[in-house]
Amino acid sequence: MTASLQKGINALREVLDAPIASYFSSCVRCGMCAEACLFYTETKDPKYTPIHKVEPLRRLWEQEYTLTGRVKKMFGLSKPVTDEELEEWSPLVYDSCTQCGRCSMVCPVGNDITYMIRKMREGMAISGHAPEGVIGATKRTIELGSPMGIKLPALQTQIGKQEAETGLTIPIDVEGADYMALLSSMEIINFPEYLGALAKIFHNAGVSWTLSSEAFEATNSGIQIGVADLASDIVMRIVTAAEKLKVKSVISPECGHAFTALRWEGPNLIGRPYGFTVVHILELLDELRSAGKLKTTGKESEALTFHDPCQIARRGGVVEQPRRLLGDVAEDFREMSDTGVWNWCCGGGGGVSANDRAEHLRLTAFKRKKAQLDALGVETMVTACANCRIVLEEGLEHYNMNVKVVGLTELVAEHLVEQESGK
C-alpha cells in the first residue's frame, strides 16, 4: 500500500497547467457555481460550492507556480497542503461531484471547474484519499476487467439469452468488422436488452459489427477515481483489441463516463491517436437514421421526457441526436425545463454511484431531478446511460415516484420495422 502525500503533491504539480492557472487567476468568488451545482442547490450547504472543492489545488498552484506564492513559501508564510486537509476534502471532491459540468457552463469568468476537479482527483487518489467504493471499483477493473467484476463467462451468458430473445447471432471477435461494440458492466448486469437491441438494429441496417472477447468493458474507473496511468491501461485494452480486429470504429455504449474516457481522454492518456474512430451509440443510430437505415414504425403515445446524461450531452456534444431519434418513436415528447446542455445531473456519475459514503447525499441531490419531473408531470423518462438509469431508478424509488425509466436504444429497437430474423 504505497499511496503517499508526496506522490499526490507530485501528481498535482504535473497536472497544473496554463488553463488551471488562468482559472485560479480569474475566480472572483461570486458563488454562482454553487447555484449551478445540484449538490449545493438541494442541500444549501456552502461547502459544496464547486470552486471550494478545489481550494487545496489552488493553494498548491499559488505556492508552486507564482512568484508571490514562492516567495511566501520561502519565508514560511504559506499553509502547506496536508494529508488531513486532503482527507477532509475527499467527500467534496468525490461524493459531491459527478463531473457534470454545469459549473463550467455557468462561471462568468469562464472557469472550467469540472476540469480542475478531474485534475485534483489525480492528487487525491494517489495520496490515498479516494473513497473506498471507488477504489474497489478501480481495483476490480484493473484486476478483473470490470468495475463490477464481470468476466467473459458472465457476458457470454447474457449473449446467449439475447440471441435466444432476438433470434439473431451476436458476433464476437470478427476481424475486419466495421464496428466494435463495447458494453458497460451496468448494461451487462441490469440492462442486457441493450445488447439485443444492438443486434436487431444492426441486422436491420446491415451494419457489420462485433464484440471483442478481450475488451468488452467500456466503463473506465480510472478516470472516475482520477489516476491517468490506470485509466490509460484500461483504455489500452480497448485500443489493442480494436486495432487487432482492424475495426473502423468503436461504439461507446449508453454510458456517460465511458464515452468521456474513450472518445475524449483516451488518446491523451495513451499518448497517441487511435487507428479507429469512436462514436457514441446515439451518434451511430442518428447516422443510420439519416441514411434511411433505421426504419421504425409506431410511436409511444404516453408523454415522455429525456434525461440528458452529462458526459454525453454537455461534456460530449451529443445533444440533438437523441431528440431526432425520439421524434421517430414518440408522439408526446416533452422537454424538461433546463434541457440539453443545461440539463441537471442524475447525481450518480463520475464514481458517485460506486461510493457508499455518498449515498445519502446522492439521494438528497436527486431532489433536483425530482423537481424537474414533478414540473413536467410525465410518467416515462428516457435516457441513454446505464449508470443514469440505475441512479434514476433508485432515486425515483426513494421518493416513491411513479416514473418509468427507459433506455433509448432499446426504445428504438422496439419500434424497428420487423424483418426476417437471421436464424
Partner: protein, 219 residues
C-alpha cells in the same frame, strides 16, 4: 506635506510608480500562466459546431435565463457595477482628458449629470454586493481578505471621485489628491488580487470555449 504636494506627487511620481507596478504584475502573471503550457489534445475535435474559444470570450457575458434566476443578485449587481464603473471611468471628461494624454484617443463625453447619476448607482450596487458577500452563506464562506480588499480598492476611487466632484467633506485639492491616490492604490494592489480577472477572464473563457467546442458544444 500639504494637500498640493500630495496632489502633485500623485499626478507625478505616484502615477509612474503605480502604473509601473501594475504593468509589472500583470506581465508577470501572464508569464506565470502561459509558462505552464497546455498539452495538445490528441482526441479529434468535432467540426462544424457553433462553439469556439473566441465566441465564449464574449458569449459568457450573456447569462442563461434559468441560471440568472438562480443567482439574481450576483448577476444584477455585477452587471450594474461593472458597467457603471466603466461608464464613469470612460465618460467623465477629466478621465477622457487623462486617457487622451496617455494613449492619444478621446471621444465626446455625455452630459456630466448623466455620468454623475451612473456613479451614484454604481456606488449603491457596490454596497449591495458587499452586503450580499457578507450575508450570503456561500459568498461568506468563499471570501477571503483579498476579496474585501479588492472591494475596497474598487469602491474608494468611485467614492473619492464623487466626493471630489461634488466638493464634499474635504477641500477639493486634498480630495482630488486622495482620489488619484486611491486609483494608484487600486493599480498597485491589482495584480496581486482577484482583480487580475479583468484580463485573465478572457484567457479562461477562451480555454473553456475551446474545450467545449472540441466536443461540439457552445459554452
Amino acid at each position: 506635506m500639504n494637500a498640493m504636494d500630495l496632489l502633485l506627487w500623485s499626478r507625478g511620481p505616484g502615477l509612474g510608480i503605480a502604473v509601473g507596478i501594475f504593468l509589472f504584475g500583470m506581465v508577470l502573471r501572464l508569464f506565470e500562466i502561459y509558462s505552464l503550457g497546455r498539452k495538445r489534445d490528441l482526441a479529434p475535435a468535432r467540426t462544424g459546431g457553433e462553439g469556439s474559444g473566441w465566441r465564449t470570450m464574449f458569449s459568457r457575458s450573456v447569462p442563461d435565463r434559468a441560471q440568472f434566476k438562480r443567482s439574481p443578485v450576483v448577476f444584477t449587481t455585477g452587471y450594474i457595477f461593472h458597467l457603471g464603473f466603466f461608464i464613469v471611468l470612460l465618460f467623465l471628461l477629466p478621465h477622457i482628458e487623462l486617457i487622451e494624454a496617455v494613449i492619444g484617443l478621446s471621444w465626446a463625453p455625455p452630459p456630466p449629470p448623466i455620468v454623475d447619476l451612473v456613479a451614484v448607482i454604481t456606488l449603491i450596487a457596490l454596497i449591495v454586493t458587499l452586503i450580499y458577500r457578507i450575508m450570503d452563506p456561500v459568498r461568506r464562506m468563499l471570501s477571503t481578505f483579498g476579496d474585501y480588499l479588492a472591494w475596497g480598492v474598487t469602491f474608494l476611487p468611485l467614492l473619492t471621485g464623487y466626493m471630489a466632484y461634488h466638493h464634499l467633506l474635504l477641500d477639493y485639492t486634498l480630495m482630488l489628491a486622495l482620489h488619484i491616490l486611491s486609483v494608484e492604490l487600486l493599480l498597485v494592489v491589482f495584480p496581486f488580487t482577484k482583480l487580475t480577472h479583468m484580463v485573465t477572464l478572457f484567457i479562461s473563457r477562451w480555454y473553456n470555449g475551446e474545450w467545449f467546442a472540441r466536443k461540439g458544444v457552445a459554452s
